[in-house]
């Protein structure tokens, strides 16, 4: 676990990249990539910042991250389905809309 600091830094960069992607991407799938990257960064961080027990990583954060990964995949799956439907309905896979906020009937 002496490499924890290194991976923490990596997580920081990944998080930043994710945020950047989330902002600049118009396509929803790219936004989902970005969110997943951010999530991964946070997962790494969670495991890395917990104090190790007898040199081994704490099992609790690992269990939490495992749960987190499943939740992430669930959310992504739903988001993808939503994106597909949105694309079917509007011909766009972005959040841009023509009508202004909430003004579509």
């Amino acid at each position: 676990m002496d490499n924890a600091a290194l991976y923490v830094l990596a997580a920081a960069v990944l998080f930043g990249v994710g945020v950047y992607g989330l902002i600049v991407s118009a396509h929803l799938m790219r936004k989902l990539f970005a969110i997943n990257i951010m999530g991964n960064a946070i997962f790494i961080l969670m495991v890395a910042v917990a104090g190790p027990i007898d040199g081994a990583p704490d099992p609790v954060p690992q269990a939490l991250v495992l749960t987190g990964i499943v939740i992430a995949v669930s959310a992504t799956a739903f988001a993808l389905a939503l994106m597909v439907r949105l694309y079917q309905e509007t011909g766009r896979a972005t959040l841009a809309d023509d009508n202004g906020p909430g003004n579509d009937d």
């Binding site: 987190g68 669930s74 959040l95 809309d97 909430g102 579509d104 009937d105």
Partner: protein, 482 residues
């Protein structure tokens, strides 16, 4: 008994939802009843427990924290449970007309609905930071699924935006949880308090969690997702979203602020939270004033009303706590009533554009009545629950000589009046053309009755406050107890 009852309160709707996936559609009506109707009776048991003995802990799987997960039933969570059960039940009455079990969409709607219900029950009970994360995700996904359930483009778009921001918010929260665990090694909300020092790391972690929750509860300026989502969702979903879903996040912030970080000196940060609340009130109201659609107006009204819940932070006193809790209750009922009424109107007219609602009061008197009645509470005019909440807020502000908050709370009712009366005025306006009477598409009277019941509830709350206020006073956070 209490443990069992609480477990059932969470698991019965969840299992019923699962059952809906398995069992054929003909069972749906029965399942809905099984999943919802016993809940108020089940809830009586924990209520008696709390009234008699105060807070109650359920150690799940027999492993106490820090090892396991604990549910804490204290007066505040009991109040939230009642609110959730009560409002969900009444809104379900309406939903049973908008999504009748015999129709195709019902199979998609009801399981998500029950999961949402169950997850909110689990959320308000949970005393574990990570468990809260999981339940929050459950709440969010169920809610978004419900928003998109009808597949209207606007709703889909709103759902997508909500989903992205909610995921982002969850990540912020999760980051905070990770850091807190890294520093303290525990996840129990109340246990953390003993281990948590206000160091810069923990402070930031707290800030991260709070901001994540602020996004989920759509506090200005993080409300971006709310108006479109609430304004385009199906009626009952809008109702429950505005009445409960955004509130539970605020509830968690309260828990973090007043319990977990109860010993810290949070005064200046509390002011910031209060300012956000104030801005929410002003901005939400102004935005509601300029909307062209009824449901969007109500949605922005929610943005505004959520601001009141933030005033608890700077005011932080017994009175303020009672005020905020009471606002939670009365706004929940009133806003649900408004959305249900709006849904009936939308269904009957085919549009909720204000320009098409002239003279609607002659056609749908019950719904307009419900809307108006709920409006009274939203405006904080007496006699209503909203008024009582406002009164308590004012008293709290005066008690601490916080004149700024006092004036804000007092005057904010005017803003609400501005947008609500704009709606009512349009409805009373005589139409230039006679409205086409479309009896076929009219919502059944019982659907309106649900709205009226909720609205009347919000009004009656103005008279029968003592039980709720006493309950809240019995469950003050440790720092606020007199």
């Amino acid at each position: 008994m209490t443990t069992e009852a609480l477990a059932l309160i969470v698991f019965v709707p969840l299992l019923v939802a699962a059952g809906m996936v398995v069992l054929p559609r003909s069972w749906l009506g029965l399942l809905i009843r099984i999943g919802l109707l016993p809940l108020p009776f089940l809830l009586l048991i924990p209520t008696m427990e709390v009234v008699d003995n105060g807070a109650y802990r359920v150690v799940l799987a027999g492993h106490d924290s820090p090892l396991g997960i604990v549910w804490l039933l204290d007066p505040l969570s009991l109040l939230m449970l009642w609110l959730n059960v009560g409002i969900t039940l009444l809104v379900s009455l309406h939903a049973s007309f908008s999504f009748p079990p015999s129709d195709q969409p019902a199979r998609r709607f009801w399981p998500l609905w029950l999961i949402l219900f169950a997850s909110m029950n689990a959320l308000v009970l949970s005393a574990d930071l990570f468990n809260i994360y999981v339940t929050l995700e459950l709440v969010t996904l169920a809610a978004i699924g419900l928003i998109a359930v009808e597949g209207k483009p606007a709703a889909l778009r709103a759902a997508m935006r909500y989903l992205l921001l909610a995921l982002m918010a969850s990540l912020l929260y999760l980051l905070g949880v990770g850091l807190i665990y890294g520093q303290t090694g525990v996840l129990d909300l109340y246990l953390i308090a003993e281990h948590l020092e206000p160091a810069w790391l923990t402070i930031t972690a707290l800030a991260l969690m709070i901001v994540g929750l602020l996004i989920k509860s759509a506090i200005f300026p993080l409300h971006a997702w709310l108006p479109a989502a609430h304004g385009n969702a199906p009626g009952p979903v809008s109702a429950i979203l505005s009445a409960m879903v955004v509130k539970v996040s605020v509830y968690i912030i309260w828990r973090l602020w007043f319990w977990t970080a109860g010993d810290w000196d949070l005064d200046s940060a509390a002011t910031l939270m209060g300012i956000l609340g104030g801005l929410a009130i002003v901005y939400g109201s102004v935005a509601a004033l300029v909307q062209q659609r009824l449901k969007m107006i109500i949605a922005y009204s929610t943005v505004a009303q959520l601001g009141y819940l933030m005033l608890l932070f700077p005011l932080a006193s017994t009175l303020a706590f009672q005020a905020a809790s009471y606002h939670l209750v009365s706004h929940g009922m009133a806003k649900a009533a408004m959305f249900l009424a709006a849904a009936n109107i939308l269904r009957s007219v085919g549009s909720d554009r204000l320009s098409r609602l002239a003279g609607i009061d002659q056609r749908l008197p019950l719904d307009v009545f419900a809307l108006a009645l709920a409006g009274v509470s939203i405006m904080g005019l007496p006699p209503s629950g909203g008024f009582l909440a406002k009164w308590l807020f004012l008293e709290a502000a005066r008690e601490q000589e916080a004149w700024g908050w006092l004036v804000l709370v007092a005057a904010s009712g005017l803003l609400a009046a501005a947008y609500l009366f704009r709606v009512l005025a349009v409805m009373c306006l005589h139409p230039r053309r006679r409205l086409r009477s479309d009896r076929r598409r009219r919502a059944p009277n019982l659907a309106s009755v649900a709205a009226i019941l909720l609205a009347v509830g919000a009004i009656v709350a103005g008279f029968a406050s003592a039980p709720v206020l006493d309950l809240v006073a019995a469950g003050l956070p440790p720092g606020l107890a007199p």
